[in-house]
Symmetry: C2
């Protein structure tokens, strides 16, 4: 290994970052479920529609008033909120902390990529759905409008590094950029990632270049 003297080590931890000048608001995603219309009806009854609790950061997305119980091989989590509107696939996004509690080992996946992921039982007021797949740790990502992407020179599916300031400062690597006309600038992390970095919804982070 290289010889390192104390004077060399002076720079450790103090090296400055060079940031892209576009503060990105953070949205912390608590555990949640996306349901198909079919699974929604299995759990709540035929013809049931979700009731909106509040709008989320991305246009059209909302938290519903409805919650479900998720049952894994080792534990149960009650009150898991459904996000609307219904989707073409049923997907459960949890944290690794939740995964230990349920007794599952879900992979890190981008939304919608549920092939080969663990299943789980989901219990609603009118029925139960035994999913054979659908549980993921959501890969952290930045939603970005094409105007923002063009301004900073990234495109859909780019990977960037993101700096989180503060007492538990860190650089998150492999952060996926997702670009769409439908998107508003926002970085999504799960509760483990938020808690590890002491991030809360509305805090701002920056891309490093």
């Amino acid at each position: 290994m290289p010889e390192l003297g104390p004077q060399h080590m002076e720079s450790i931890g103090t090296k400055e970052h060079h940031f892209v000048d576009l503060p990105i608001p953070v949205g912390v995603s608590n555990r949640h479920i996306h349901l198909t219309k079919e699974d929604l009806e299995m759990l709540f009854g035929v013809g049931y529609g979700l009731n909106k609790l509040k709008e989320l950061g991305q246009p059209g997305e909302y938290a519903s008033k409805e919650v479900l119980t998720v049952v894994g091989p080792r534990g149960v989590i009650e009150g898991v909120r459904i996000l609307g509107p219904p989707r073409k696939f049923t997907q459960i996004e949890i944290s690794m902390t939740d995964a230990y509690r349920l007794g599952l080992k879900p992979p890190v996946r981008d939304s919608g990529h549920v092939q080969g992921t663990p299943g789980v039982a989901v219990v609603g007021p009118q029925g139960v759905v035994a999913l054979d797949q659908g549980v993921i740790l959501a890969a952290r990502h930045i939603h970005m409008h094409p105007d923002d992407a063009a301004e900073i020179g990234v495109k859909d599916q780019s990977k960037v590094k993101v700096h989180v300031p503060g007492e538990r400062a860190q650089v998150m690597e492999n952060v996926l950029v997702r670009v769409s006309q439908e998107y508003k600038l926002e970085m999504h992390v799960d509760t483990d990632e938020a808690n590890a970095a002491l991030l809360q919804t509305g805090n701002e982070v920056k891309i490093i270049h």
Copy 2:
């Protein structure tokens, strides 16, 4: 802001790190309690001694068979393990995830620095202790023997950056180095930090220079 073309952005997320050639084993700290002899006797009875369950990474430290219930203003966590031997101060180290569950807002602190931290009620089989302080988020840190410290040119209380490889790769900044003849090389992180980075006890990380 600076003009950034796509060719500039090519380097984002791919820039290589330069590592100090000393792989550091990780120890994940689950929530736990250190007790004074006085508090131990309040909770378990006069003259009570802890029973060793298993040795921990640092010489002399052990997980005891005994667990306690911690009661916060918003929630309760059962089965919180006591680490021995007894110390000069009672201290409860939890994750931010635990803190939300209990309804507390503990600061990030180095072990032993409990002045002004939140209190909590601790319940044992023979009594209850109402602590007026002692709950912390333990600051991540590296235990290091003086030989290792000398080899890589750091000293007690140095701050370093640590790289975690993998799918949720990250660089943890502000990582405290603690040097003592009593210590064995090991980085301690809490369960939020471990889960956010998909780290498990025994994984290896490296210091960046």
